[in-house]
């Protein structure tokens, strides 16, 4: 049976079989779950439908979420693309939208977590629009992203309480970058380079949310990380290579997560959560 422990396993398996990483991950899921390949595909297709709804609703919503801290930013972002161009603007817009839906108790797909749920959808949907590609291409991208996320979860963590924000938004951006490279026709090696480059540049990111809520800085950070993923993907497609390979970057993230004090790992005891503005917000919301 196929073993997925490292990013290198995915690259080697794909190269040996002459397949894409998405196909290897799909096959792995069949083997380890014992579920039929078509059923797994349909389940991922259903998740994509939920993802799309959450990515497109924010553009029309100008109101605040129920805590009143965030909301309406996807709408604002969609008003102009004069600086960043269409694809990056759309990626950020969709990522903000999914995160706003999440903050307002709407339905989302955790990806890999609820706090980072906008990044993969933002980058993948914007890329699909650029390529004018159909759902099948995006579903394959989700499998690639899932394979990368699985490796990170096995060797480090995708939980902010354990690894800080690098483990949530960093992992999501790495997953998105790898998936976008494959969607753009990149090689398995380029996918692994995108993972390494993208994750490396979000290492050390701490989780210090205001009032302990998945809103500030989480929603806007999802937008930033979606754009970050596209930069990593384009670097990899341009044959730029990371000096440190993906699996070593993931291990570095693990070590950094262990070294971070717990005050910066989702406990809201330091950082942004302790600013004077944050403290007054906390007093208002949590009474």
């Amino acid at each position: 049976m196929l073993e997925i422990k490292y990013i290198a396993d995915l690259v080697i398996a794909a190269d040996n079989a002459g397949k894409k990483i998405s196909e290897i991950v799909w096959q792995w899921e069949c083997e380890q779950s014992g579920v039929l390949a078509e059923s797994i595909w349909e389940k991922m297709q259903a998740r994509l439908e939920t993802i799309k709804i959450s990515a497109y609703t924010g553009k029309q919503q100008q109101g605040k979420t129920f805590n009143g801290l965030v909301g309406g930013d996807a709408y604002r972002m969609a008003q102009t693309d004069q600086l960043l161009g269409g694809t990056v603007t759309r990626a950020v817009t969709y990522a903000l939208s999914v995160s706003e839906v999440n903050a307002d108790m709407g339905k989302i797909v955790a990806c890999p977590t609820a706090g980072s749920c906008g990044i993969v959808p933002g980058a993948l949907l914007a890329t699909a629009e650029l390529l004018k590609s159909d759902n099948d291409v995006i579903i394959k991208g989700l499998f690639t992203a899932a394979g990368i996320g699985t490796v990170i979860a096995k060797n480090a963590s995708v939980a902010g309480a354990i690894g800080g924000c690098q483990a949530e938004c960093g992992s999501a951006a790495a997953m998105a970058a790898g998936a976008v490279v494959e969607m753009m026709g990149g090689t398995p090696r380029q996918v692994s380079q995108a993972v390494a480059l993208t994750l490396k540049n979000l290492l050390g990111l701490v989780c210090d949310p205001v009032a302990g809520l998945v809103e500030v800085p989480c929603v806007k950070r999802n937008g930033f990380a979606a754009a970050h993923a596209l930069v990593g993907a384009q670097m990899a497609l341009a044959e730029i290579e990371s000096v440190i390979p993906a699996d070593e970057v993931i291990e570095a993230m693990n070590q950094i997560g262990l070294a971070l004090p717990s005050s910066l790992k989702e406990t809201s005891e330091a950082g942004l959560a302790k600013t004077s503005t944050a403290l007054s917000i906390t007093a208002r919301i949590l009474k």
């Binding site: 989302i108 955790a110 998945v214």
Partner: protein
């Protein structure tokens, strides 16, 4: 762990531990009660106690008690729906430290007068563990089919229950027995790989020494 643990779960936001996990805790408490609750007192500990309002943890817990799944959009309005459906609820915010930061303790009364206490924790990613039913320590994840019995603490009963299950070709994945004190009532939780039919449950209920038995489906 599989691809749908990474691209998933599908859930109502904003937090897998404070919202999705809370909804599953509520749903599990309802299943263990065995009927619609009419009265609920929910005590919150740790991070649940400190941040429940902002995460909608209260709405998720009550939504779960109403039988809503973690991806049910009605969770947002569950407090209002509960009142409409005749569920009276109150929250107690505990200052006490709990074994785990995301702990909730339910004291429930059902439509037919059943009363039960259920304690559980949300352990991340929407996963939960029920740790206590009334005074019995248990470990129920909701990932498996489960059979819970309350029986007299005497020899032979556990063997008889497992014999009934093996006759039906039901494989036991995990098993835990707890009792209040020697010779008193005991509780057994069996998590199984296969579903347990109504007929099998009735056979278990008829075993001499079994006081009550319920079956829990995976959440």
């Amino acid at each position: 762990m599989g691809v749908f643990d990474i691209i998933g779960p599908v859930m109502v936001g904003p937090s897998s531990s404070h919202t999705a996990g809370a909804a599953r805790l509520g749903k599990m408490a309802r299943v263990i009660l065995g009927e619609s609750p009419t009265e609920a007192t929910i005590t919150l500990y740790g991070s649940f106690a400190r941040t429940y309002l902002g995460h909608g943890t209260d709405r998720a817990l009550v939504g779960g008690l109403l039988g809503f799944a973690p991806d049910d959009l009605r969770i947002k309005d569950s407090l209002k729906i509960a009142t409409e459906e005749g569920l009276t609820f109150s929250f107690v915010i505990s200052e006490q430290a709990a074994d785990h930061p995301n702990t909730a303790e339910f004291s429930l009364q059902g439509a037919s007068g059943n009363r039960i206490g259920v304690t559980g924790r949300s352990i991340g990613g929407g996963q939960i563990v029920i740790t206590k039913i009334d005074s019995f320590k248990v470990e129920i994840t909701g990932d498996y089919n489960a059979l819970i019995t309350i029986h007299e603490d005497k020899p032979g009963i556990i063997a008889e229950v497992s014999r009934v299950l093996s006759q039906e070709n039901i494989n036991i994945a995990q098993m835990k027995v707890a009792r209040q004190f020697r010779g008193a009532e005991a509780m057994m939780v069996l998590e199984t790989d296969h579903s347990i039919s109504k007929q099998t449950l009735d056979t278990v209920k008829n075993i001499y020494g079994i006081r009550s038995a319920i079956v829990i489906l995976p959440l």
